[in-house]
Subunit: 300 residues, 2 copies
């Protein structure tokens, strides 16, 4: 019998990425399209998987890394739904249920960042760790992770972009862009915040631009709050803003300075470049995490 | 055969509390003495347990809720030691090993707050939850908790008192008292911070004093950072400062205001008085947690 094939979806607010495969080395096919209204976007994903099934045989399970907020309480009647969201049309859409009904196979869904963390745990920079955080810094800021071998859940799911942090308004009078909180971490340090503050997109600003030192300050404060609250064994930073690789050393310096040797740990005090790292799977953490999660439905 | 009896120690920076017992209803005896130098204090605890053994028979295991920082990596040669600490004489003291050697029974140690959380999980306000936080606000501020059914560990252990948060220096120009970070949460909102800012001990300030509104602001910001990072199912607030019961409604209001309906959860939006709560075990969370932890060494 052939080894089972899995479907993976990275369901983002601006684009959907669908893959069929088994592992980082066995992604047999991939498609990508813009996120439009839910009916059309979900159908387009299902059509892609149907096409693959014609060629490769039936999928064994589907994993979905989805934008949120999501209902993840398995005892809730709306498990797997997108909760009320400002994104037009997507409130209360039953994303997981749509595929479960169409394909009649196990479908598992979690937040984009939890699933990316799951992918990094299986095949990337989180391998072998009991507990780590994956933080994405891009259009928004979001965090997930693995703790004691499971994805981070709780009352709902983490919303790490919305922590509050000190802002020196003498240095940076920017009021922040979060519609809920103004100057939370996402409000001050997401990609759109950089663009609004400096009048152009981050990717157009040179590495020497003062934007990056300020960005590293805010990310640094966010990370020390994470370290103090969770004591992660590693922090993986992904997302569009973190494609600016020159941010990493600036962030390492900030975190070390801010913690001021309070946390007695070799990793933080002497090896921070391997403590705060880019994703091992590059930009594929989400889709590969979705494949890993799907495969776990069959193997566990 | 008699049911096993356990020893529990709450090893604090200012006092040690020792108990022998089985559960909240079966604490057979209790002793308390000031923390002096480690040799004398540990011997005093051991002598107490020896006395109890004469009357009640051999202890089956000992649990210790200890001030930190602690080495909790079981693979480390200094597992169970207190790490370098400003507390004179206590750096690198092998607290767990002292009792293990004297009594030749299982001895388990963890941070005071993790053990208090464990006690609340077994018998208090954390019963039945998969994941919650116990935060103590007193001489210092520290946090621990249960996640996926285990105490919070990671690179080291949480140091929740040292998160950074916004401070409105127009309203509160106080520079904070943390020797490492100045105005971190502990620096701004611990008992000694209240005393230094207002010139007298918190317990002497009336409920109408502006100190409490400010205190609730800082605790509120700290808690929303906790909620955004961890999404706990409940937050238990213990410690000397939280004996000011009138702080709870002020904190509930602050947390609701600051989250601004961003987290879609009935517990936070409509039932916050049962979401942020005092310890179910009152001031006994630590010692009872130590008993619970000790009993788990035998029953698991």
């Amino acid at each position: 019998m052939d080894r089972p094939l899995f479907g993976g979806i990275e369901a983002g607010g601006t684009k959907f990425v669908c893959v069929a495969g088994r592992s980082p080395d066995e992604i047999v096919v991939k498609a990508q399209f813009p996120t439009s209204d839910p009916q059309a976007t979900l159908k387009q994903s299902a059509d892609f998987f149907r096409e693959q099934e014609k060629q490769w045989g039936k999928l064994a399970a589907i994993g979905i890394a989805c934008f949120g907020p999501l209902e993840l309480d398995p005892s809730s009647p709306s498990y797997g739904f997108i909760l009320p969201t400002p994104k037009p049309g997507w409130s209360n859409v039953n994303v997981a249920g749509y595929f479960a009904e169409k394909f009649n196979i196990p479908v598992v869904i979690d937040t984009d960042v939890n699933v990316a963390a799951f992918g990094e745990w299986r095949w990337g920079a989180g391998q072998g760790l009991d507990q780590f955080i994956y933080l994405t810094i891009g259009t928004g800021i979001g965090g997930g992770g693995i703790i004691h071998g499971k994805m981070m859940h709780g009352l709902t799911h983490p919303e790490m972009g919305h922590i509050r942090l000190p802002q020196d308004v003498q240095q940076d009078p920017f009021e922040g862009i979060c519609p809920y909180h103004g100057n939370c971490l996402e409000g001050l340090a997401s990609g759109p915040a950089i663009e609004k503050r400096w009048g152009q997109k981050g990717e157009l600003l040179p590495a020497s631009h003062p934007a990056w030192r300020l960005e590293a300050q805010y990310i640094g404060i966010g990370l020390i709050n994470l370290v103090c609250i969770l004591s992660p064994q590693r922090i993986i930073l992904g997302g569009g803003v973190m494609k600016q690789q020159h941010l990493f050393p600036l962030i390492h310096t900030e975190v070390t300075r801010l913690l001021n040797d309070y946390i007695q740990s070799y990793s933080i005090q002497h090896n921070i470049a391997e403590y705060i790292v880019p994703p091992g799977l590059g930009s594929r953490s989400g889709v590969l995490g979705a494949i890993a999660l799907a495969s776990e439905q069959i193997h566990s």
